[in-house]
Assembly symmetry: C2
Homo-oligomer: 247 residues x 2
Amino acid sequence: MRKLKDSRRAEIVDAALLVAAEQGIKAVSMRAVAARLGLTPMALYGYFRNKDELLDAVIGRMLAEISRPATGLGWRETILHLAAEVRSVARRYPTVVPLLFTRPAVSPSAIMVIDLLFDALLRAGVEPARVPRMERMISTFIIGYAISEVGGRFSEGSLDTRSRRAQLHPDLLPAHQLLAEHLDAPVDWDAEYQADLDGFLDIVAALAARDRREPIAEPRPSRPPGRPDAERLSRSSGAGSRPDPVR
Amino acid sequence: MRKLKDSRRAEIVDAALLVAAEQGIKAVSMRAVAARLGLTPMALYGYFRNKDELLDAVIGRMLAEISRPATGLGWRETILHLAAEVRSVARRYPTVVPLLFTRPAVSPSAIMVIDLLFDALLRAGVEPARVPRMERMISTFIIGYAISEVGGRFSEGSLDTRSRRAQLHPDLLPAHQLLAEHLDAPVDWDAEYQADLDGFLDIVAALAARDRREPIAEPRPSRPPGRPDAERLSRSSGAGSRPDPVR
DNA sequence: ACCTGAACACCGTTCAAGT
DNA sequence: ACCTGAACACCGTTCAAGT
């Protein structure tokens, strides 16, 4: 089992990812993957104990498409890079992404991404004891948002006020009525994602400062530095810049 | 189709949820659900167009177990209540929860929960235009964290440094090496969830203040009011209380 | 109005066998 | 070392029929 040719194993995983990309995750059957390689289903069991193990490998293969951040990038740009990569991978393989939340992050590529996040947070000056949970929060947000977007949790069905009202008596949804005009507005997902993530990173910066570790000197490229607070969370929602209450 | 007895429909959904709770989501087949009711699989197709539609109803049924927050609760307690309810539902039906991220939130119970969140954010004083995305961020975190915990993304496989090192050459994981002592420490998930969520709510409060809408007077029960910042994010990680850099 | 029976085109996986 | 064939116990869903 362990010494079957690795190249064959890779071929199988590639085939599975292709099937997923082309026909959805439901189409990824041992039989379909084997057929794509001109094999019998049973051939795969020489390389994977069962289908779950194959799917774990598919997740790893997908995450392996995340490119390493360029060396010399600051901690903030590193995280933004990784977040953008996750997003682009999610769009490339939308039906595979939900598996990320379903299986533990055990593949080498997943662990390497986590290591890069750890490293970035340490460079940000976050206290080491706090780094692991900070990483969990950030990656929960990044993955959660990616899945929600491609998986349809944010899609029309959930946004359209009219279809909601059609299902429930309006009186049961008072807040929806108050927000009606804002619920049907088109959403710029890229901007929202970017702004929310920026907000997170401002918090990271604030925590790092609080930890009294010298944050790596690193100007924020997109706006003047020195305002490590939650302001970014509101950026793309149309409010003008107002005095900042937390500083 | 539309006028088949609603009670029968509910029986079917209940049966499906029971099968899921007892034998996992994979065991929820049209055949198994039907058998539990003494029916033929084909009987279900009178009530649901297909299996996906049944699963959507199962999600709705699960969310219907979320209890309404008591009237008179403040916005903050309302959100904390809902978050705690999602968490407890997730533990009750761990294998069903991942479906939350897979299907749009279209069931009446999902919409009602969202309406309660909208209402809480409005009462917090958040500008209406900003409420929908604030809701998306909060519920992404709440659901994402719930799934990660029950679904195993945070489980041993992903936390144990030793097993990671066994897979990859240590030199490839420099940050893991630096953090080794903190990675094997036991995690109090409840405390982490609570603290992170508190951090979010501090941000909400800060944004509301910035929006210049009068926040509903509402003392924070768990600590002195008036510090709407990111501090809570670090609460349970062992750092003593230090001067707050953002205020 | 509600349900069944038979059939079709699929699954994952085991076991034994082939080269 | 690598793969196949046959078989088992399952799937979701369609169609026609029953009461």
